[in-house]
Amino acid sequence: MTQTKAFNVEGQLSKLDGGLKLTAFKQLSTHTAISSMEQCKQYIIPLQQHIGVISQPLVKNGERVLKGQMLAKPGDLLSAAVHAPISGIVTDIKQHTIPHASGLSDLCVFIENDFKDEWVVRHPIGDKYNQTSSSNMRKIIRDSGIVGLGGAAFPSSVKQTEMNIKTLILNGVECEPYITCDDVLMREYAKEVLSGADIIGHIIKARQCLIAIEDNKPEAINAIQAAIDSDGTDFFRIEVIPTKYPSGGEKQLIQIITGKEVPKGRYPAELGVLCHNVATAYAVHRAVHQAEPLISRIVTITGHGVEQPQNINVLIGTPMQDCIEHCGGYTDNSDELIMGGPMMGFSLNADDMPVIKATNCLLVTTKEESIFKSKHMPCIRCGKCVEACPVRLLPQQLYWYASSQNIDRLVEHNLFDCIECGCCAYVCPSDIPLVQYYRYAKTTIWQQERERSSSDISRERHEAHQLRLEKIKREREEKLRKKRELLKKKANDTANNKTETTNDSKQSVIAEAVARAQAKKSERNKNSESK
């Protein structure tokens, strides 16, 4: 075939800078097939499950909603729609803790399940997508509420531009330990994943699709390869990449596959590539072929703190405690509940929160595995973190400047290029929670920038106010000066008159008095005028 391979020849991969070889613990959750859960009584659907602003609710309290009905529409371009995972009654729209690193609450729609599982009317576009324009396809994806399911929850339709993208990279790397949801998805739904990739490829007019999988997932590689073979075209190709954390980061994966780095502050599209998670491709397949919006996803429930680790197909909005119960509940020595993997996931302080679109994994650790220490040793600048950093930062210098709040130096040392992968903290012999320091420094700088811009606004306002006051003052002074001149002139005139009439003393005295009275009068008149 003459179709050019946009980048590397097969098997020629670039190396990731830094990174770690971690114990994967993947086999914990891969020995059973993906299971389905019984439906719960109540579902909690947060309206903020993506980056961008919160979605705007379209339903009211007490309203009956059907499965797949849009509950809220996107608030802006980077926002996404959310849909009802079941049919039932909206019982409440109120604040509830959402699974977010901040631990804060946000608006959620509470739906009481009527267990009828009644769908909205669906018109799947099916294989006709080939004849549908890219913009119409993007609209379908946007209306289906599809966001990146790798964890970032970036609205997929926004990424799918037609800006000369040659290569679609499907990210099936899944480099974090414990997480296996993409692995089992590829094993069991390889055809559907490729079908989704084909649709995305049609939208962005890609010439090839590379499916990147780490070499520790032979079953997934075989399943995808079998699906590619039965597909018969040369659009797809598998890139087996060495197992190393964090190869699955978008920028890192692009570096490994293309040998090029996404320029600072730019998008991968600039290199002619687009990256999508395999689960996102699967969601696109369902949206197009079944007209099913994103109302479920595969979640890995794992860790040594849960009785039966496994992957489950979970409806978005299912309370986490129900998922854990489905897996046999917690073990006696369970310690922490983490959403995401052990490297970048954040620990939750309660399990009454719902599974959201970004929930790829719920990891329950045990007390024995806890690494938390209330205090750490001083940094000895050993440089282990420098070796581990995939972005080539100097974590020890960033730590130094972060603890002394030296913002200029933090920016000079590229704090904002930190992807918070946690490699530095993992290797630190002094147990310094480095990522925590960077997050804190980042938010402090953002806060200061916000304050500066708001203080800039108020300073401008103040200056404008000051100018206005001065202008008024100047105008008033000008008026007074004119008045004074006028008076002076008049006084001079009367004085001249006086010299003329000196000899006639009596008459002059009278005239003087009259003039005085007149002057006074006119002054009074003027005063009253100006008032």
């Binding site: 780095e261 922490e336 650790t365 001083p378 210098q397």
Partner: protein
């Protein structure tokens, strides 16, 4: 159910600062044994005095600073400083030299700046410099190495003689300190050159020839080889950075070779420099002290190479027997600057 929450990452490599210090101490063992074998009881006394004074000083200052005493002592950093200092000091240094050096190292160079991790200068080298500048005569008191006849005795003085000298300042009847001590090869070559005896002459002089067996002098050669062995193990264990010793040794060999090729009668060979004095101790154990060295990969090359250049300059043209302490501390001063200008270009940097 409610849970604790802790920051990510939630898994960790188990290596600690203490592990690293202990490994460095292990790596010092071959060199220490070689030093004791070739230079006698004095080395052991140095170690005992330095360790007790360093640990004692550290404990007192931690107490004064109201810090955790036991935990901090267990990190092993004071012990390591003590060992490095003791191995650098001459084997017949009187006890108070070691005491002053140890106190300066721990109290001044380490804790006045905030303790472990905050000291800009290598504590052991600061301690060494304090006594070197204050008591230059005592700092030349190396015993004759094993196998070299000094006056009537062969090798280093016996236990009683060494003990009496180090702790009491008493020598056997009729002996002077000169009769039990001996200049190091580096020092000897320098003083001889100052008296217009070139290197070949000095090496062939029957009075000194026993001192110059092997490539870099009796005893010194094996002490350096032992430190090199321990150092290679340390680098292999990923405790010491490999760039600093590599840069240091390559730079020292290139510079000394350049000069010795130009004039071999007044400049010692590259091998002599590499295996004499404190070269290997410096390359793997002193220059690699992470706290005071450069931390950027490029910076570490520059740092190691510049130390070697300074060592060569001070050894060849300076007034001191060896140049390591000064070279290391001078580069400690430059380290933050080098770090600042050798930042790696980050991912996606347009200038890369």
């Amino acid at each position: 159910m409610l849970f604790n929450s802790t920051p990510s990452p939630h898994i960790k490599q188990s290596i600690t600062v203490q592990d690293m210090m202990v490994k460095v101490l292990y790596a010092l063992i071959p060199g220490t044994l070689a030093s004791i074998y070739f230079f006698g009881w004095g080395v052991l006394f140095n170690l005992i005095i330095a360790i007790s004074v360093c640990i004692g000083t550290e404990a007192i200052i931690l107490k004064l600073r109201q810090r955790e005493v036991t935990d901090t002592l267990l990190d092993g950093s004071a012990l390591l400083t003590a060992c490095l200092l003791a191995l650098a000091l001459p084997s017949l240094a009187p006890w108070w030299i070691t005491v002053i050096a140890s106190i300066s190292a721990i109290a001044v160079a380490k804790h006045l700046y905030g303790g472990l991790g905050f000291n800009p200068f290598n504590p052991a080298m600061v301690g060494y410099i304090v006594v070197m500048i204050s008591f230059p005569l005592e700092m030349t008191l190396w015993s004759a190495p094993m196998g070299v006849t000094n006056g009537g005795t062969i090798g280093w003085p016996d236990f009683i003689t060494t003990f009496n000298w180090v702790f009491l300042g008493v020598l056997p009847y009729g002996e002077t300190i000169d009769s039990i001590s001996m200049a190091t090869p580096i020092d000897l070559i320098k003083t001889q050159l100052n008296q217009f005896h070139d290197i070949i002459e000095t090496r062939n002089d029957p009075e000194f020839s026993a001192l110059f067996s092997g490539i870099s002098g009796t005893g010194w050669q094996w002490v350096n080889i032992s430190f090199l062995a321990g150092g290679i193990w340390l680098v292999k264990k990923d405790v010491a950075d490999w760039r600093i010793p590599t840069a240091f040794l390559i730079s020292l060999v290139i510079i000394s070779n350049l000069f010795s090729v130009m004039d071999y009668s007044s400049n010692s060979s590259a091998l002599f420099h590499a295996f004499s004095g404190g070269t290997m101790l410096c390359a793997f154990f002193i220059a690699t002290d992470p706290v005071t060295a450069c931390t950027t990969p490029k910076g570490r090359w520059i740092y190691g190479a510049c130390i070697a250049a300074l060592v060569y300059i001070i050894r060849s043209w300076g007034g001191y027997p060896d140049g390591i302490a000064f070279a290391v501390v001078l580069m400690n001063i430059a380290a933050p600057l080098i770090d600042y200008y050798t930042q790696p270009k980050v991912y996606g940097d347009p200038n890369r």
